[in-house]
């Protein structure tokens, strides 16, 4: 497994990997299989999901909105995550450390509250990044 991860990262480093929702993932069609008719009419397969057509892609943030919770909290989290990743993009170059860390902190806390036990690994990841 480690070898595989290393091989992948040699070609496509970690910054290039992003999360997208299953239903927006065209590769999902390829694993489930669809009928000939569905294929001929599938925009998702031929042209990709809508979000890649936009100019800024920050769909890592979408992970939280899949989870249940109250709507405003979701919107809130989403907004924070969006700017969090806008910041993360400049990481390494000239990003404002204090605000970046603060954002991470907030995200981590919200995630910890919202994310159910199965996703424990997810928030732990954010926490460790802060530490």
């Amino acid at each position: 497994m480690r070898n595989r991860v290393a091989n992948i990262q040699k070609v496509l480093p970690s910054e290039r990997w992003r999360y997208c929702r299953s239903r927006e993932n065209p590769a999902d069609l390829g694993t489930r299989g669809i009928s000939a008719r569905e294929l001929a009419a599938s925009e998702l397969w031929l042209r990709g999901p809508d979000f890649i057509k936009e100019n800024c892609v920050s769909s890592f943030g979408l992970s939280v909105s899949d989870l249940d919770g109250n709507a405003s909290a979701i919107a809130n989290t989403q907004a924070i995550q969006n700017c969090f990743f806008a910041n993360a993009r400049d990481e390494g170059a000239t990003f404002n450390v204090s605000s970046f860390c603060r954002l991470q902190n907030i995200v981590a806390r919200i995630l910890r509250l919202k994310v159910p036990r199965e996703f424990e690994g997810l928030w732990r990841y954010f926490i460790t990044r802060i530490e």
Binding site: M1, R4, V11, S14, Y19, N25, S35
Partner: protein, 307 residues
């Protein structure tokens, strides 16, 4: 051919490069953005090869103007004959020059009351020639079906179970829909392309895994186009039946997600090499949080190697 290319390399570097990289056996395939470039390139390549005794013949183009510049005996289709239904085979794919679209060749036998055996299904599946994976989500169903039949240990000429036979006839009965299926050849139709970017997706289920790659072309007027370039699917490896499902041998979805990430990486690498695109701004997506956050998002220096 290499020698000819080297000879003209100083005066015509573009044409020399094209001769070196765009010949596929004895076919020369090249796409250039403008008509003038195309005409010029054709003249130079034609002239250079003719001087060495190779006369290029049977030209086909999506441009009537270009075909008009070629002498009559040199073209496969004259401009007048270039009808919407004209089809040419290009490296196994069907190209309709007038519409500038690719179709997939489906010369499939019509099955009438035939005994559905493993042999028949395999032969049918192998006839769908789809090197770029345009039909991948459909073809994967054949692959999954074959794997299932294999696992049930049927002989080559034994009639498959009713359930599998039904699935096969359902798949074959709808396949004719795909003969009208076509995919646009140019990656962008609007203005001048300023940036091209590869966007990849991967996913795995317990039966199969799939990687698919799109090309996003951003134009100078701010618009952008996204088209699918290539896809690859594989069926999940069969878990050894004689082992307990809970044993170490069992392949988890997470492991499959990692395999599909590997597949996507290979595909991206190959396509970026072929299209001369940089991997620097490629974006790759997965819907597996474990693969992404747990493994791939970690910086390589934190990875410890266990011998």
């Amino acid at each position: 051919m290499e020698v000819i290319a080297d000879e003209i390399a100083d005066s015509e570097p573009v044409a020399a490069e094209a001769i070196k990289t765009n010949f596929y056996m004895d076919d020369f395939l090249k796409s250039v953005p403008t008509l003038e470039e195309a005409c010029r390139l054709r003249c130079v390549v034609h002239g250079a090869l003719a001087s060495a005794g190779f006369r290029l013949r049977k030209y086909v183009s999506n441009s009537r103007e270009l075909l008009a510049t070629v002498d009559r005996e040199g073209v496969a289709v004259t401009p007048v004959e270039l009808l919407p239904e004209t089809r040419v085979t290009v490296l196994g794919l069907i190209w309709e020059p007038d519409k500038d679209e690719f179709c997939v060749k489906l010369n499939l036998p019509i099955l009438v009351d035939e005994k559905v055996t493993k042999r028949l299904i395999l032969s049918f599946t192998a006839r769908i020639f789809d090197p770029l994976g345009f039909l991948a989500p459909f073809v994967i169903r054949f692959k999954v079906l074959l794997q299932k039949i294999w696992a049930e240990k049927f002989e080559w000429d034994e009639i498959v179970s009713v359930e599998n036979g039904k699935e096969f006839s359902e798949l074959t009965s709808t396949i004719s829909v795909l003969s009208s299926f076509s995919i646009q050849r140019p990656y962008s139709l609007k203005g001048k392309v300023i940036e091209q970017k590869l966007i990849g997706f991967c996913d795995a289920s317990e039966r199969a895994y799939c990687a698919v790659l799109y090309l996003k072309s951003s134009c100078d007027d701010g618009s952008s186009d996204v088209y699918m370039i290539s896809a690859k699917t594989k069926i999940a490896p069969v878990v050894k039946l004689n082992r307990a499902p809970s044993s170490e041998e069992n392949i988890t979805i997470h492991r499959l997600e990692l395999m599909t990430a590997t597949l996507l990486t290979e595909l991206t690498q190959r396509v970026s090499g072929n299209l001369n695109l940089s991997l620097e701004n490629a974006d790759v997506f997965s819907d597996s949080q474990v693969t992404l956050l747990g493994w791939l998002a970690k910086k390589p220096e934190f990875m410890c190697v266990i011998a």
